[in-house]
Symmetry: C2
Subunit: 172 residues, 2 copies
């Protein structure tokens, strides 16, 4: 009887732990280049932030555990090991009503990820690219080529930093 109670408690506890992770991402369609939306992405830790003045957006850059370990190591030139996933949550800029000099996240634009697999994505700098648009996370790209290649074309500008624009922010 006592064991039975413990089992029930354990099951309830597991459900509580899994719930926040499973809630949002379970019905998201993969992108045409076969990349799955990572479960629990919004619970990942922070690598940095950035603002794009050319399209009036701001974003937070998150990483899975492999990415965070690499981002927070003290090597000068970042090495992103296979298995790294870098993620961006992007919002339109909006003025904060209570402090007009502040620009804050308005509409959600998209979630984007870069998946590190040096073999699988050898032809695009070792990175797989994916984007899901809007709060409904609708996968971007007409086909496999369209989902991957235009991202890489733009990321060539960051070849000197391993095709990654994001440089981890300094953290205490």
């Amino acid at each position: 009887m006592k064991i039975h109670h413990h089992l029930i408690r354990l099951t309830a506890l597991s459900a509580l732990i899994l719930l926040p992770t499973l809630s949002s991402a379970q019905n998201v369609e993969p992108t045409p280049n076969g990349i799955k939306y990572p479960t629990g992405l919004t619970n990942w830790r922070v690598i940095g932030t950035s603002i794009r003045n050319d399209n009036n957006t701001q974003r937070v850059i998150l990483g899975n555990s492999i990415a965070i370990k690499a981002a927070r190591s003290n090597t000068e030139k970042k090495q992103w090991p296979d298995g790294t996933i870098l993620a961006k949550l992007v919002w339109k800029n909006e003025t904060l009503p209570t402090w007009q000099a502040a620009t804050v996240p308005g509409d959600f634009v998209h979630a984007e990820i870069m998946v590190r697999d040096t073999k699988k994505y050898a032809s695009t700098g070792g990175w797989g690219f994916a984007r899901w648009k809007g709060l409904e996370l609708s996968p971007h790209g007409k086909d496999k080529e369209d989902a991957q290649q235009p991202c890489f074309e733009c990321h060539k500008a960051a070849e000197s930093t391993g095709f990654v624009f994001t440089q981890p922010a300094k953290m205490p």
Copy 2:
């Protein structure tokens, strides 16, 4: 013997889990108004981002578990329960070398937190305020009054949103 092995494994596992949390914050001095720097703050989940054009900074806003639960609930007007801690990591703006239209985190300015305790901080809107400057996290404020009151004076501008400037960003 087998139990002994399991114990060693468990101990090693606990050490691995605790290690990233304990590494940075253990020697940080509390602020003069008695607020402690939260252990593992940089591992907290994201509530939003913001840019201040009046002082050329960008920041990520993080929250402890109580804050995240409140931030991600679907109530229109956020209620921050006692125990909530909101945190800001703030950086000076810098131009990204590989994409000149992007503004990214440069020097780390400070970490700030707001601690919700409606009784203890009744005279300052139910919030305790604290700031630690630079990567060395040196506590801000000459004395108890100086560490708390000027923050609250400024936050009065956000009285309509419970003295909190941050409104949680829309997330998928």
